[in-house]
């Protein structure tokens, strides 16, 4: 029996690109698939504040509220906890392994790297983002 080649496998996850870029070939809206779709989702969840989504006041991480707290270990621990909680609640496709937060004190910002397992595609991945008070 012939083994199906990998490239014929259909995408498990398929989302559109929130930056609304245009596909130069099809002129259609850009898409994100599988790991890229999940990464985008993770970022969306973390960057959403409470009460942003209609009728879902608790959706998101509300992490921007912590940016105005003292830049110390306690705040970083809080941010880590918030990220763990919101991804556990709203992103069932990942299992968070580690959240690494670096305080970029000269730039008045935090660098956050989230490492996780993609449950369905059996792959490790990570997402990084920089949080600033002004964004």
């Amino acid at each position: 029996m012939a083994v199906q080649p990998n490239f014929q496998r259909k995408n498990v996850y398929k989302d559109f690109d929130l930056s609304l870029t245009r596909n130069p070939l099809t002129n259609d809206i850009g898409t994100k698939t599988d790991a890229a779709a999940i990464n985008q989702s993770v970022k969306n969840i973390i960057l959403t504040n409470f009460y942003e989504r209609p009728f879902q006041p608790n959706f998101g991480s509300n992490i921007s509220g912590l940016l105005f707290e003292p830049a110390d270990a306690i705040t970083i621990a809080d941010m880590r906890q918030v990220i763990y909680t919101c991804l556990a609640n709203y992103e069932p496709r990942v299992q968070v392994k580690a959240v690494v937060i670096r305080d970029l004190i000269e730039q008045n910002s935090y660098h956050i790297e989230i490492q996780y397992d993609l449950k369905d595609v059996e792959k490790e991945d990570s997402t990084s983002l920089v949080l600033e008070r002004l964004r």
Binding site: N11, V12, Y13, K14, D15, F16, D17, L18, T31, K32, A37, Q40, S41, V42, N44, I45, R53, P54, F55, Q56, F59, Y90, E91, P92, R93
Partner: protein
């Protein structure tokens, strides 16, 4: 079988709409991540669902506001009522009738009391101003010496007199509107002049526009969205159109409504006439607030049916309710029902009182009924038969759940009786159901586990000059029949309060003997002596009581009976009213068996 993915369009709730959109689009192959909250698609679905939800609610509100039954906003209710040719009643100023004694002055055989003359008054801590709204003139004979006093009867209305001035602009349109800037205006006191000429108000219940020509000096009044009123003038075809530069003066009263009812003392404040005194007064009455939304919803369709003519009994009820604000309940019935054809009877229960005064009845007949009445019909106003329901409730409470005191439970039950008087009983044909009141009491507090309510009935009759105003009356319900009740230790089924007979210092009362007779007895130091064993009759099956042969001193006598059923029916001309003063409630701990055995009984007065 594949699931049905057609969109459902009946959902209003955000979450249902969102689920429906996701279910519908999941069958498409372009994207898959609809169900993940963090996905961009889910964000898009949120926006779509929000938009749909918003539009659905707007449509729902819109449709609700289009119909009189479901509209909630006053401006919409008023607008729909206007389509039914109904203008909601404005606030009404309380009106008093004063008789003035006016001495003749030298040099003139007449005196004119102008519109706007002030009579100040006070009621409790409040003070009110009453004004005349028309000129009154009194004529003296030539031969009357100076100082001769003549009396003049006038109507005064409570409020603050306001005059607004408008100048018609070049840009005035047809049916140009001018807003009266105050709320609580009594539009019936409105006087409008254009360049000094008095204009007439055209309303549905006056002549309509049938007699209005292009030269008629008329205006119309509409309620605005801010509870104020617009004056509206003609267009040169229906009513005269004011010309540019014309001066419009509108004078009206801004009233306190019902607060000024019941005022009895007035002081004239007439410039230059300190010699005018008041010789008689009819207490102020008829003041009312602006027609409420619920009243408009009730009245507009009824009034539309009457077409401003009183033909059926219901027509009379609608017209009376609109034109006389101080009505809690009204019942109209044809004379053929009581053997008096050619008449129509109205039984009117005013608010906060049992019956109308003779002056009010006269005013209603003269000012309201005759305008709408068919010429061959004679209207007659009667008083309703007020049957007072005495409620006695035993409240059992669970002390473990009690967050307050038993006294508070009792106070809340008594307050409930008061509330039910206007919301539950208090209208014609509104019966009293004991299970309903027990349920209301149980709902008062989580600690109340039961309410055992028993009811008695009371009818008050008045004696004046040894004559009863109601020598026969009916409780309208079957009474609890006990043979030889008069001799039983627990007392009679029907018993009166004690009263005095003419020329006697001792007290007497009536009671039934259990065999259909009402006995007249003297009560001397607790000992009962029968004076007349057949001073009246009582029919236990119908509740009819007739009293004859006794000579009462002036005053009220209450007849109290206990009915066979604790549910009390209202029929015919009777109105049930909970007698809060006679009613009682007692709260007993559910574990206090001794008190429960003593007080928690279902029979007896």
């Amino acid at each position: 079988m594949a699931s049905d993915t057609r969109p459902v369009i009946a959902n209003l709730d955000f979450n249902d709409i969102k689920k429906d959109i996701i279910r519908h689009f999941q069958s498409r192959s372009e994207f898959q991540d609809y169900n993940f909250e963090g996905s961009s698609l889910n964000l898009l679905v949120d926006i779509l669902a929000y938009n749909t939800h918003y539009n659905a609610l707007s449509a729902n509100f819109l449709v609700n506001e289009m119909f009189l039954d479901s509209a909630l906003l006053r401006k919409n209710v008023v607008s729909i009522a206007q389509a039914l040719n109904y203008t909601p009643r404005s606030a009404r100023a309380s009106k008093a009738k004063l008789t003035l004694s006016i001495p003749k002055l030298s040099g003139s055989n007449f005196y004119t009391l102008p519109a706007g003359s002030l009579f100040s008054s006070a009621s409790g801590n409040l003070s009110f101003n009453f004004y005349t709204i028309e000129d009154y003139t009194i004529q003296y004979d030539n031969i009357d010496p100076v100082g001769t006093t003549k009396t003049l009867e006038i109507d005064v209305y409570e409020g603050t007199e306001v005059t607004q001035r408008f100048i018609v602009s070049q840009a005035a349109n047809d049916f140009q509107r001018y807003e009266l800037l105050n709320q609580n205006i009594d539009t019936s006191t409105l006087v409008v002049t254009v360049n000094g000429l008095k204009y007439q108000l055209v309303s549905e219940e006056t002549q309509g526009i049938n007699d209005v020509t292009k030269d008629s000096g008329v205006y119309f009044v509409d309620e605005s969205r801010e509870l104020t009123y617009y004056l509206k003038f003609g267009n040169g075809v229906i009513g005269k159109k004011p010309s540019a530069g014309d001066e419009i003066l509108a004078t009206y009263l801004v009233t306190s409504g019902p607060e000024a009812n019941g005022v009895q003392t007035f002081t004239p404040n007439i410039t230059g006439r300190g010699d005018i005194t008041i010789s008689a007064t009819v207490t102020s009455n008829g003041g009312a607030n602006i027609e409420t939304i619920n009243e408009i919803k009730d009245n507009a369709p009824n009034y539309f049916q009457t077409q401003y003519r009183a033909v059926t009994a219901k027509d009379y009820e609608a017209i009376l309710k609109r034109n006389f604000a101080d009505i809690q309940a009204v019942h109209a019935y044809g004379g053929e029902e009581v053997g008096k054809p050619g008449k129509v009877f109205f039984s009117i229960k005013p608010k906060n009182r049992d019956k109308l005064t003779p002056q009010e009845k006269l005013a209603i007949s003269r000012d309201i009924l005759t305008k709408f009445n068919l010429v061959t019909i004679t209207p007659e106003i009667t008083d309703p038969d007020i049957i007072k329901v005495i409620v006695k409730t035993i409240i059992q409470y669970d002390p473990a759940k009690l967050t307050t005191t038993p006294e508070v439970l009792v106070a809340r039950a008594i307050a409930l009786f008061n509330t039910l008087n206007t919301t539950y009983v208090g209208d014609f044909l509104e019966s009293f159901r004991v299970s309903k009141i027990s349920q209301e009491i149980i709902n008062l507090d989580q600690a109340i586990v039961s309410a055992n309510t028993r009811t008695n009935l009371r009818i008050d009759v008045n004696a004046l000059n040894q004559v009863l105003d109601k020598p026969s009356f009916t409780f309208g319900n079957r009474l609890h029949e006990v043979i030889y009740a008069g001799e039983a230790s627990f007392g009679a089924v029907c018993e009166s309060t004690e009263f005095q007979r003419v020329g006697r210092q001792t007290f007497s009362k009536f009671r039934d003997d259990g065999r259909g007779n009402m006995q007249l007895v003297d009560v001397i130091q607790g000992e009962v002596t029968i004076v007349n064993p057949e001073a009246g009759t009582i029919d236990y099956a119908t509740g009819d009581v007739a009293i004859s042969d006794f000579d009462p001193a002036d005053g009220d006598i209450g007849f109290i009976a206990y009915p066979e059923s604790f549910d009390i029916n209202a029929s015919g001309n009777s109105i049930l009213q909970i007698s809060v003063g006679d009613s009682s409630a007692r709260a007993i701990d559910k574990n206090d068996l001794i008190s429960l055995n003593s007080f928690n009984v279902s029979r007896g007065k």
